[in-house]
Subunit: 346 residues, 4 copies
Amino acid sequence: MKSTRGDESLIIVMAGNATPEDVAQVIERLESIGAEAHVSEGKHRTVIGAVGDRNAIQQLPWEAFSGVERAVPVLKPFKFVSRDFQVEDTVVDVGGVLVGGGNFAPIAGPCAVESRDQLFASAEAVAKAGATILRGDAFKPRTSPYSFQGLAEKGLELLAEARAEFGMPFVAEAVDPRDVELVSSYADLIRVGTRNMANFTLLSELGKQDKPVMLKRGLTATIEEWLNAAEYIYKEGNHDVIMCERGIRTFETSTRNTLDISAVPVVKELSHLPIIVDPSHSGGRRSLVPALTRTAVAAGADGFMVDVHPAPETALVDGPQAILPSEFADLMIQVQAMLAVMESFR
Amino acid sequence: MKSTRGDESLIIVMAGNATPEDVAQVIERLESIGAEAHVSEGKHRTVIGAVGDRNAIQQLPWEAFSGVERAVPVLKPFKFVSRDFQVEDTVVDVGGVLVGGGNFAPIAGPCAVESRDQLFASAEAVAKAGATILRGDAFKPRTSPYSFQGLAEKGLELLAEARAEFGMPFVAEAVDPRDVELVSSYADLIRVGTRNMANFTLLSELGKQDKPVMLKRGLTATIEEWLNAAEYIYKEGNHDVIMCERGIRTFETSTRNTLDISAVPVVKELSHLPIIVDPSHSGGRRSLVPALTRTAVAAGADGFMVDVHPAPETALVDGPQAILPSEFADLMIQVQAMLAVMESFR
Amino acid sequence: MKSTRGDESLIIVMAGNATPEDVAQVIERLESIGAEAHVSEGKHRTVIGAVGDRNAIQQLPWEAFSGVERAVPVLKPFKFVSRDFQVEDTVVDVGGVLVGGGNFAPIAGPCAVESRDQLFASAEAVAKAGATILRGDAFKPRTSPYSFQGLAEKGLELLAEARAEFGMPFVAEAVDPRDVELVSSYADLIRVGTRNMANFTLLSELGKQDKPVMLKRGLTATIEEWLNAAEYIYKEGNHDVIMCERGIRTFETSTRNTLDISAVPVVKELSHLPIIVDPSHSGGRRSLVPALTRTAVAAGADGFMVDVHPAPETALVDGPQAILPSEFADLMIQVQAMLAVMESFR
Amino acid sequence: MKSTRGDESLIIVMAGNATPEDVAQVIERLESIGAEAHVSEGKHRTVIGAVGDRNAIQQLPWEAFSGVERAVPVLKPFKFVSRDFQVEDTVVDVGGVLVGGGNFAPIAGPCAVESRDQLFASAEAVAKAGATILRGDAFKPRTSPYSFQGLAEKGLELLAEARAEFGMPFVAEAVDPRDVELVSSYADLIRVGTRNMANFTLLSELGKQDKPVMLKRGLTATIEEWLNAAEYIYKEGNHDVIMCERGIRTFETSTRNTLDISAVPVVKELSHLPIIVDPSHSGGRRSLVPALTRTAVAAGADGFMVDVHPAPETALVDGPQAILPSEFADLMIQVQAMLAVMESFR
């Protein structure tokens, strides 16, 4: 055993045909930024551990150096959102409803606000069945330019009315950095949609607001990239971020997306932020919602969010995945029973 | 509304620039195999519905015909394993232990049989904690040719001894069509590993045995391809097939594979076969096993299969994902509690 | 053969257990929007072809209707960007340089503008070697909030200076709808980055500008979604869109992304828009750039775009994939030779 | 800079909360197998470089040890097939036709042998146009059990007749370890299909034959796993392996698979084995074959293999991707012209 001191935040593996000059250049560059090199010379490969400031080291283009085969990060690129930084669970206050740290939030409502009648029918039903936060969108990013794009501010007004009527805070999506202030002035929780998870200008804008943010996972984002996106919001000063797993894109076509249920325990290991699951958008089909919602509870999620529509076949957005109010009531009974069992395991 | 009669098993969409001759050629070919064509002529596209024997129609290379843009199957290619063919759940008898149709099977043991001591320590522990079927492999297909490949027949003998000692049937993998008879002469349930799901010569061989088969999903197989593989076994006369979801390959790297938990309700919709979940190989990490096992129960699976090793750090195969006997005992308490709740929802 | 008339734009497959009422409800709904139903009744399934206005039909939530198994679109959702709409290749004028319809554009320069010296060294070299458009970014969306984010307007000023000095138009990225006007006031071609392909507010903004747009494919976008994104820009009135394939996310980790070279002939079949390839961001490694650039030419692309940096190991962004000016000069010799051969095949 | 000696073949990253005992246990285990530990202790993490026999070190289940976060291999798991082991290109002799090291092989013929007429029509055409190796299969693994499975030995006899008649060696697939001897007694080159890339019993059997092997990439295999599969064959004593890229499974549905053209230069960097491309099975459509074949040449492949069928619409297997004899003749003209240009770059 040979021993050295210092946090290696990056391992630089030199190529088999790297020259002594190549190795020296890497070491010099490390030393020029105040870092230290732990060099292990072998017959086949030289391996260099870089010790020093993580950000300074990790942002250099090591694989562009002559003779470098690859650079392997040892420490994760995100800081504030990691369990290393904060051990206790973050609890987010959404208009008086707590999420995280043992507080479970059923979130339900229509995918898009279409009319006062549709919204109020859905809101009344989900409130009665036990949902604690209302969902409903006023701005909808759509794959096809020919699809319904939302009611805009009119939708937010209706959501605020529903909040007053049924006594539950609401979450709504912001899709444009220019609308953040507007959405924030109405909603209790601002959602970042899957297509915008890597819209860094939107994330920065949200980091400067004082409303909590729900950050949906990008369709194709790794868990590490998703936590990096949360870091964007967090480091701007907004620490109230709720992660939302909603399925990723894979080769499987029998579901709209593939719900990555493992993301729940993985995020809980890596981060102190609460995480919920969206079974509606991951499965994409009404018949799958109950089973997938139960898996969210079983995985240890801090809540779930489902589309509930009084008449799914008339929905302007995502009807196939919306469940009926009566189905939601049945689902809540199952969720409550499973939560009680989960509670008993603590 | 215009109406015609007959099951359209395939829709043939002609290209925008298809000629009348192209359309005629497709219709003729359909009629030559005794099928009927429902033709809808539009300004932009002609669409042809093919009515007749599904297999005869679907196996023709329609997209090779001049002027054909694509062919969309309406009916699934598998028959016997579908819910259309049999509405009631299949119940499989594994050496006296029932699986499916409300019978839940906890399956546990070491990934590979390494020695009598290792196997018996694991088997004793899992039997005591409530597992009803023992797992343990004698043949291991490994990615690297330099890894441990299993004890072969010696391993099967040890498994048979453990069965006698602890009174539980066992499941073991067959990797070579030439070994099917051998494995079948010892094991109560023969497993097809993920790498062999599309090894059709192995599947056909298994279809001719009289022992039940556990069919793991291919790392990259769609649910439809997986059910097709089950059809291979079924149509040879072996109707005792248990599906096993074990994670698929995606871009996510924080877990070994991505557990596709939605596959449980989807397979239950499409097929009458029982389905279980392998939380060990999907997550690839010991810490994820409890949460993922709970999701299997919550999704409605008919069982689960986990790696349990008395000393994972000495394991010759897949140590990182094996849980300790004590962890398995804790897990079984959770599973029993959740099963009771699930039962109450029926 | 049975025959009906009218373009079926959607096929609705009813479930095996659908009732006559379910079928009637679908037909009624179709008729209520002025569409016609071609109904084919079989023993196992009823299949309904929907004839009428494509947008009206396709935007209804058919899979939310009771008894519907799935709805399969026959006609693509995009219109204006399709070959059906316009047969001849679109030719885009980028500050006097033509792209598409037989006009091939080599685009090169640094990934990000870092300084006057760095930009000018790169621009001079690529101009001399035969590049016709300069690349260089002033705004950089980065996965980690701790990475260099670009020089903003100062960067655009330097690019404009380089244009004047070396006589080549330039392309730069816009990442925020609020910056579109600013970027548009400097650049000859505005780029939409891969993370923003589905940022529909940004796309709409760009559709209202009079500068051409280069639309990079989303990391996880299907070709159909990518063409839908182009339709967003096109239908706002901006018809000068250049598609840019830059690799998709797959399970393979030995390259940064997987270059989907088949996208070149596929887009050319489906659309009249020009398409180029970015071999730098797809491969992610300097050593792969020459081979991947050659495949772009061989596939029939209308150009390519590469990162060229005078000293990649000092690059603040994406150094590992930048090639040296001398390597670019060698590459251009190969590209010219291959273009001549490709020309001979016409 | 601190310096130690010895090839680190694995880096073990301890978790943030690992105890000194955890670290000691890892070091002891390393020393127990004769390896040395390079330990770097930091405030956040301890990182251990393992120096010693690569196989002994890499096969231990490090991530099963208490306190270990992850283990990162530095050296690749394959040895004999790597460029580190042999710098010069391997040249494979296929019945007198050389492949690799500058020798380019056009391989063509029907996907499956269906009849003497079909085979001979195809063979005559491809021989005349310049193909040097004939393809044609006698055993076909099919996704659906209801599809045509091949003519078996009768097919091999016809291929041998065609070889005699047209003077070209042929390649055929072996799908069952029990058939290897049979196929080997007829064919000049034995193919392992994509579904069998990880069928290790088949690979071992092939490693003991004296005929060269063409190893198709698994639908979902990483390049590293694919080279591991080649290592299986190589280490049994058969050094004549030709790699064949044929597309991987991704989310994109407009092509049958996604041709990973980057695999050509990547395999050439990592290994000395020849690599060819199959444009027929990757694209899955006749219209894409010419463009994809040209990209293979441009990427630097050592050959390509295409399906050619005299009447694709009557093909029993994979008709949609087969090109006509006349199209193959045109394609060969393009290939020859591109090869001449590629030659000029050396």
